[in-house]
């Protein structure tokens, strides 16, 4: 009798074990597809138009609405090996955005693989994020507003005149206020010489490249960013030097900041952000910092003064 009772338990146990093994194998062989990530944000009501430094000066820095891409060979005619570029991977294609071009235009509105995206870069806070331009059924057309918010780029939707913070994707003013852009992809910043191999599409300059070089060289200091924070009553977080460059990460309601110097010294740092196990590594071959591991994770390079102003509770990975 006891033996008869045991048999179903044993069969059930074996079946459960088999299912477990199958699931485990599947999870090993098929990595979960990354889903668009919404950065952690504070309530939109906390953001105020009063915190903006400067007044709107739209069209001062025109975004790129119809980007033209060229191949690596042609790009070599206007890029130098050590020019920093933003490398965004879609499928097997690397979309390359030269930083000196982006530092002027700030935003590229594009549709890649059928997805409306905005590739964004803020020279003063060093933040590089690729957003989805879709909110519900609406496709946003994003431009540069002009003012700074805690040293960071303020963008706006040209259709609704809604204002957006680049570092967080928060829409804090206008008809779309309270909504947040989702992060579509995380770019890597590398030197052109490390990005030119493989299937690449490179953003072509809309002006003579000398103009962009001059613009980038002349304005890459970030002091103005900190100035915009302090003039609006902000105080830089004293835990680190304001100009420390790092990687800011957000996931599951938590944020973390890792100074680049830490990563370079240790070569690789493991940490947990919002229950996501993440590894931040120094790719010594390309000189870039790489973040891997999280499936619901957003991250960006950033200066400490700007990152900590948006995320005062952020932990620092020492």
């Amino acid at each position: 009798m006891l033996k008869q009772i045991r048999i179903p338990f044993i069969i059930t146990g074996i079946a459960a074990l088999a299912i477990g093994i199958v699931f485990a194998l599947q999870s090993r062989t098929k990595p979960p597809k990354p889903t668009p990530t919404t950065p952690l944000t504070m309530p939109a009501s906390v953001r105020s138009i009063d915190h903006m430094w400067g007044e709107p000066a739209k069209a001062m820095f025109p975004d790129i609405e119809r980007p033209v891409y060229v191949g690596a060979k042609e790009a070599d005619l206007f890029l130098r090996n050590d020019d920093p570029v933003m490398d965004v991977v879609y499928g097997q294609t690397h979309y390359i955005y030269p930083i000196n071009i982006l530092s002027f235009h700030h935003i590229v509105n594009d549709t890649i693989d059928g997805k409306p995206v905005a590739v964004t870069f803020c020279l003063l806070s060093d933040s590089a994020l690729v957003f989805s331009r879709q909110i519900g059924d609406s496709i946003l057309d994003i431009g540069v507003l002009g003012p700074l918010y805690y040293g960071n780029l303020v963008m706006y939707d040209k259709k609704t005149d809604s204002y957006i913070i680049q570092m967080t994707g928060e829409i804090f003013h206008g008809p779309l206020s309270g909504k947040t852009l989702s992060v579509e992809a995380e770019p890597a910043i590398v030197a052109w010489k490390y990005a030119k191999e493989g299937n690449v599409k490179v953003l072509s300059p809309a002006k003579p490249i000398a103009f962009y070089r001059d613009f980038y060289d002349t304005r890459k200091s970030s002091q103005m960013g900190l100035q915009s924070l302090t003039q609006k009553g902000g105080k830089p977080d004293a835990r680190l030097d304001p100009y420390i460059k790092g990687i800011g990460l957000t996931s599951g309601g938590e944020t973390a900041f890792i100074p680049v110097q830490q990563v370079k010294e240790k070569r690789a740092v493991s940490l947990v952000v919002g229950s996501q196990k993440v590894m931040v590594s120094d790719d010594t071959q390309s000189g870039s910092i790489t973040v891997t591991g999280g499936t619901r994770l957003a991250y960006t390079p950033a200066y400490w003064f700007s990152w900590s102003a948006f995320y005062p509770q952020t932990k620092i990975v020492e």
Binding site: P31, W53, G54, E55, P56, A57, K58, A59, M60, F61, F78, N81, D82, P84, V89, G91, Q92, G146, P147, L148, K193, E197, G198, I209, A210, R213, D217, T218, R219, K220, S221, S222, Q223, M224, G225, L226, Q231, D241, Y243, I244, K245, V260, Q261, K264, E265, K266, R267, A268, S270, M279, S281, D283, T284, Q285, S286, G287, T290, T292, G293, Y303
Partner: protein, 509 residues
């Protein structure tokens, strides 16, 4: 078969004890002999080695180049993650090494020379002592100011964060609407004046004369060779590239080594991206840029060269620089080194390297199944102990490859606009909304009536009345008390007289 005990055979207890002692000693000797060569392979420890100068050097058990961080597991995990993203995973190889028979003769320096002659590039003629160059790292504000003065810049020192970490000293250059920035860590600097793309073209020869004269002023002439020079359309100016030459051996970096591909190390030449200087001269012979990427040499020490076989024995278990693999992706196995040459390599943390030291650059082959690869590895050619002892590198310098750069806080803060420039755009449109003029311009902060640097972006709009073919943008600038010397319309305005709507935007960044 019946076995009998020793006692039964008639052996005395003393004999048995003696026999046991012999067996124990024998086993001990076997262990001693088998363990000995392994330990000497790993660190070449406790062995007397001969330097080319003939003086023996006592090696220690501690290899000052070995870094204790074990990140192999992390690297592999990282590589898997990258592959999932469709990116090329950097290979982090871990090899064993052996020397090809012709490189393995260690009887004496002379016999090695003859053995090397057939296959080892320039080692055959390499001297027994080699100079090592100490580099100046971590420049003070006073030293940076002295450089600025060479460019007639007397502005107070400020600072800005540097790409890759640390900071740069920053000096505004009002006379040229530019600046000079100097890396605190390395002393490399950029003098930047606003590009002049207008004026008479005085030609390449005139521009080169100007470049040479300027190089002499800034210590970038003697010992430099020209790499390239000519008109660069991307900057609308003449660009000249130079490199400082080094005696004896080529100066290489990892990119240069990688570029060898399957080629011989014997033909390697100095990389063109190290110790370079670039000057940009406008078509009307104005100096627009001086980019000095050379390092200041503070001392030269001549040290005995270690034999390659000794350097190999010391470092082959933990090469101080990651090996460079070309060919198939192979991350392990035994590399058979079949070529070696001497090169110079930067020693010390990134950005603030402390010395140029000679290293043996080796090339070897590795096979894994059907895959083949060539592996390039670097071994120091002078004793690291000697480098520490002679003060070339600090005693706590552990690694050739890791960035241990320790940036100092960037102080004092810079006041005003970065790059000493305020950006404006002005555009005007006709009654139908068609743009008749549109320009981007930079002006000096002191000339800015809107105080953009202090207050942030501003925008003004309004109307102007212009005559036939008169430029409404220029009129609008004048109407707003804006300086017009930086205004350069791309095309002359061709438009009828009338009223135009204009907008003026100003931003500091």
């Amino acid at each position: 078969m019946k076995y009998s005990s020793a006692r039964e055979r008639g052996f005395s207890p003393i004999f048995i004890l003696f026999l046991g002692l012999i067996i124990v000693v024998g086993i001990g000797l076997v262990f001693l002999f088998t363990a000995g060569p392994k330990s000497s392979q790993k660190g070449a420890s406790n062995t007397n080695i001969s330097s080319p100068s003939g003086s023996p050097q006592q090696q220690t058990n501690v290899n000052p180049l070995i870094n204790s961080h074990d990140v192999d597991g992390v690297k592999q995990d990282y590589a898997r993650q990258l592959q999932k993203q469709g990116k090329t995973a950097p290979v982090q190889p871990k090899f064993d090494y052996q020397l090809a028979p012709e490189l393995n003769n260690k009887e004496s320096f002379l016999s090695i020379r003859s053995a090397f002659a057939a296959s080892t590039c320039s080692i055959d003629s390499a001297p027994s002592t080699i100079p090592v160059y100490t580099l100046k790292a971590h420049w003070t504000a006073k030293e940076a100011s002295d450089v600025a003065k060479e460019f007639n810049i007397t502005a107070p020192v400020a600072s800005m964060p540097a790409d890759g970490g640390g900071f740069q000293y920053f000096f505004s250059a009002p006379l040229t609407d530019g600046f000079l920035s100097l890396y605190e860590a390395s002393g490399m600097y950029t003098y930047h004046a606003v590009l002049h793309a207008a004026g008479n073209d005085n030609g390449l020869a005139g521009a080169e004369r100007k470049s040479d004269n300027e190089r002499k002023k800034y210590g970038l002439y003697d010992g430099f060779t020209k790499l390239s020079g000519g008109f660069d359309a991307s900057v609308g100016s003449y660009v000249f590239n130079y490199r400082k030459d080094w005696d004896l051996f080529p100066m290489v970096d990892t990119n240069k080594i990688k570029a060898l591909g399957s080629g011989s190390v014997c033909g390697i030449v100095s990389t063109q991206s190290v110790n370079t200087a670039t000057l940009v001269v406008s078509i009307d012979d104005k100096l627009s840029r001086v980019i000095n990427d050379t390092r200041k040499i503070t001392a030269k020490k001549t040290l005995p060269r270690e034999l390659f076989t000794d350097a190999f024995a010391q470092y082959h278990a933990h090469p101080p620089v990651d090996p460079i693999v070309v060919g198939d992706t192979i991350a392990g196995g035994t590399v058979t080194i079949d070529e070696v040459t001497l090169v110079w390599y930067e020693l010390g943390p990134n950005f603030a390297q402390t010395a140029y030291i000679p290293m043996y650059l080796t090339s070897g082959s590795v096979v894994s199944g059907t895959q083949h690869a060539r592996v390039f590895t670097l071994f120091p050619a002078v004793s690291m102990k000697e480098l520490v002892k002679s003060g070339v590198i600090p005693a706590d310098e552990y690694s050739l490859k890791l960035d241990t750069f320790n940036p100092k806080p960037p102080k004092p803060d810079m006041i005003g606009c970065p790059g000493n420039t305020v950006d404006y755009t002005v555009s005007c449109s006709d009654i139908s909304g068609g743009t008749v003029c549109n320009a981007f311009m930079g002006i000096k902060p002191d000339d800015d009536p809107n105080n953009i640097c202090a207050d942030g972006c501003k925008s003004k709009d309004g109307t102007v009345t212009a005559g036939v073919n008169e430029d409404p943008c220029k009129l609008f600038l004048e109407q707003n008390n804006m300086p017009t010397n930086s205004y350069h319309p791309v095309n002359p305005v061709v438009a009828p007289a009338g009223t135009y709507s204009c907008v003026l935007n100003g931003c500091p960044c």
